[in-house]
């Protein structure tokens, strides 16, 4: 599996391995097998791993936060942890806050924010270092429809220069924001293509309300019947981004 600039959507049922894959790409979890190469670097090497992390943005599925921090402080904290040069920290934080439309809440303590706002804070900390590789796990969970539309535009914008990998259950997000989509099932990539290609797989399939949903269901159904009929070989493949 390989990815370059653009937005790659990861779809798959619960337990398919989307979060595990993102954690591996975020250099948080070592791969049990196979190899990962990120930004031309090997994350097994400490120095290279550190360089990757400087250029990495990551929003985990369950965002932890420090309630006493303000929005700006929390994002600044992560900017400093990501080695953003001190002279650029303030500007980088301000830009990140504005990009997620939290300017009005910049001085608010995190404990006072709603779930959707906290999600946006999480996105802001992920993009504060202007990352070349951005990993977002369920980024739109908790966002209202208007915020979700705005976020999709942000994703498309980020994908102009960076490699953005988005894990989601919402196929409409994939259709609106992703240039590519991968469907995972039981730890395997069972589909890789554009959203349009995924939608086309659903032709004649009756499970799902929208073309992408039908394509997604059809791909999963096909993958499961294939796995029942064949003995799956161990996957020792690699991932590059």
């Amino acid at each position: 599996m390989q990815a370059g600039p653009g937005v790659l959507g990861l779809l798959g049922p619960n337990g398919a391995g989307k979060t595990s894959l993102l954690r591996m790409l975020a250099t948080v979890l070592p791969p049990s097998s196979g190899q990962i190469r990120l930004l031309d670097r090997d994350p097994r090497n400490a120095a290279q791993r550190r360089e990757i992390r400087r250029r990495l943005g990551y929003l985990p599925q369950n965002l932890g936060y420090y309630p006493a921090f303000t929005v700006v402080e929390f994002i600044e904290y992560f900017a400093l942890l990501k080695d953003v040069p001190a002279s650029r920290v303030h500007k980088a934080v301000a830009v990140a806050v504005e990009r997620v439309d939290l300017g009005a809440k910049a001085k608010a303590r995190l404990r006072t924010l709603s779930g959707g706002m906290l999600r946006r804070v999480g996105i802001a900390q992920a993009i504060v270092n202007d990352p070349d590789l951005l990993l977002l796990d369920e980024p739109t969970a908790g966002l209202d429809p208007e915020q979700r539309v705005g976020f999709r535009a942000l994703l498309r914008d980020l994908g102009q220069a960076a490699t953005v990998v988005v894990s989601t259950h919402l196929v409409e997000d994939v259709g609106a924001a992703c240039s590519e989509v991968a469907v995972l099932d039981a730890g395997h990539v069972v589909f890789r293509g554009t959203p349009a290609e995924l939608a086309s797989r659903g032709t004649g399939h009756d499970v799902g309300d929208a073309p992408l949903e039908r394509g997604y269901s059809a791909v999963l159904q096909a993958a499961r019947s294939a796995s029942r009929n064949t003995c799956a070989s161990p996957n020792n493949g690699g991932v590059a981004a």
Binding site: G4, T27, A46, G64, E76, L80, K82, A241
Partner: protein, 518 residues
């Protein structure tokens, strides 16, 4: 396997930039440390116990400053431990492990910044308390200067408590970690270290900050040797480094991990692992050396202080130079004290005055009273809990303030203690004597001597010795003494003085019976 490089890598970091970023993180941690919420309670406890206790001690630097390790430090420990553990467990409690693990800065740096945030408040609170205490002491004392070593030992030991508790919090994150660690470390420090060298013989109890109140001669007649403080600093600095090294090594805390067990999530590499290992090893070595040295601590027969032979500079045992402060009581009887006790001079003079009006001119009566170190008073006197002896020609009453200053809060006891001691020394003699078998025997005197002694004390309005005393005659035999004392006290002063002038030698020789006392 193609990796997409979108732009040129950023320029390599340099040390000054790295330090600047770390200091900004540390500043942020200081701003958000929860310890600030504990400061009001800590302030109340500080005033309630250490500050008030110091105010009730005699106004001597060494005694009053002893509340810093003896009372203030134990107050600080549970707060320092609890809030450090709370800070250490933050990432686990707040579920930010993944979030911070994906950042470039090594976990060790990040956690040390977090530790620094709490430690800064702990040391600031400790420093402020010490400053308040020392200013109040400086306004009360008349001689000497503030002891610095106990402050250093206190600060280093609190740093060790914070580092140890923080590491425990990071290793075992949870909402109950902080209270458990606070209680655990407090119990450890109070129960295990709350012993002194004198109580425990020779042992590691020299590591105890809590429970050591220096002898009265320390810092007055003799300098305080810094041996114990140096050992404490070594031991606790070692513990600090050990805890910090462990924090950097433990994969559980995102540290570097032992070789072959590197945590993938760690930002650390070989250099950091080597550094953490070196810090850990140096800390353990330092703590072991400190522990070993503490085990050799012993009481110094020369100064009454605690010394560690390997560190001790015998040149520091020389008595401190001073010019006594003197004042004359009625009848020209001169009282001289160490300048550290200048504040008690008028009280001492007024205590000696009435009794010397009765005793002056008698054969063997002292012409002046001079304070000497407690250690210089013969042991037979010391061990009997009396502090004075008449020696020399012309006779001089030499006494220590050891017993008297214990009575400082009660002026009547202070006064009566002085009077009882000098009357006993003149009428009876040394209060104790060693038997042939080496056992100290209380020299209570004959019944006539007791009667005269009590009569004199009653005549000047002081409390006599307790009528029933395990060292003295059984109560049943006290009636004769009491009656004779009452008669003697009722005599006119001139008659009493004349009788004593004529009969004191015979009385001291034991040839007078109670019945012969007028």
């Amino acid at each position: 396997m193609t990796a997409v490089t979108v732009r040129e890598p950023r320029p390599a970091r340099n040390r000054s930039r790295s330090f600047l970023l770390a200091s900004r993180i540390a500043t942020m941690e200081v701003r958000h440390s929860a310890f600030v919420w504990a400061i009001p309670l800590l302030a109340v406890l500080f005033v309630y116990d250490p500050f008030q206790a110091a105010a009730h001690y005699p106004a001597l630097w060494n005694l009053r400053a002893s509340v810093v390790p003896d009372k203030f430090w134990p107050v600080c420990v549970p707060f320092a431990a609890g809030f450090s553990a709370w800070a250490g467990s933050r990432e686990g409690r707040r579920n930010t492990d993944d979030l911070v693990a994906a950042t470039a800065r090594p976990a060790w740096t990040r956690q040390l910044c977090s530790l620094a945030g709490t430690l800064a408040w702990v040391l600031a609170a400790f420093g402020t308390g010490v400053a308040v205490l020392y200013v109040s002491i400086a306004r009360a004392v008349t001689w000497g200067g503030p002891p610095v070593w106990p402050i250093a030992a206190g600060a280093v030991s609190l740093t060790a408590v914070c580092a140890f508790a923080f590491t425990l919090g990071a290793l075992f994150p949870g909402r109950f970690t902080a209270p458990i660690v606070a209680v655990g470390i407090s119990v450890l420090t109070l129960a295990v270290f709350s012993r002194t060298v004198s109580e425990g013989g020779t042992s590691v109890f020299a590591l105890s900050l809590d429970g050591i109140v220096p002898g009265n001669d320390q810092g007055v007649f003799y300098p305080v040797a810094p041996d114990v403080s140096i050992v404490q600093v070594m031991f606790f600095a070692g513990c600090t480094l050990g805890a910090i090294g462990l924090l950097g090594l433990s994969p559980r805390t995102g540290g570097a991990g032992w070789r072959g067990a590197i945590d993938f999530a760690s930002g650390a590499g070989a250099r950091l692992r080597v550094a953490a290992t070196a810090v850990f090893a140096a800390g353990i070595a330092l703590a072991v050396i400190g522990f070993g040295l503490a085990a050799t601590a012993r009481m110094s027969p020369a100064t009454g202080g605690v010394e560690v032979p390997a560190l001790h500079d015998s040149a520091s045992d020389k008595a401190l130079l001073y010019t006594p402060v003197c004042a004359a009581a009625s009848g020209g009887f001169q009282v001289c004290l160490h300048p550290a006790y200048k504040g008690y001079l008028s009280q001492s003079v007024s205590s000696f005055g009435p009794v010397m009006a009765e005793l002056s001119g008698l054969p063997g009566a002292p012409v002046r009273a001079v304070e000497i170190p407690g250690l210089a008073v013969p042991s037979v006197v010391q061990q009997a809990f009396r502090d004075g002896i008449v020696i020399g020609s012309p006779p001089v009453y030499e006494f220590s303030m050891d017993g008297a200053i214990a009575q400082v809060p009660d002026p009547a006891q202070f006064r009566d203690g002085f009077r009882q001691d000098i009357v006993h020394a003149v009428v009876i003699g040394p209060v104790g004597q060693l038997t042939a078998s080496g056992v100290l025997q209380w020299n209570a005197g004959t019944q006539a001597q007791q009667a005269v002694e009590d009569g004199l004390l009653r005549a000047i309005g002081s409390q006599p010795y307790p009528a029933c005393n395990p060292y003295m005659q059984p109560c049943a035999q006290q009636s004769q003494v009491t009656a004779a004392a009452a008669r003697f006290a009722a005599l006119p002063a001139a008659t009493r003085h004349a009788w004593l002038a004529a009969n004191l030698a015979a009385l001291k020789a034991g040839r007078i019976t109670p019945a012969r006392i007028p």
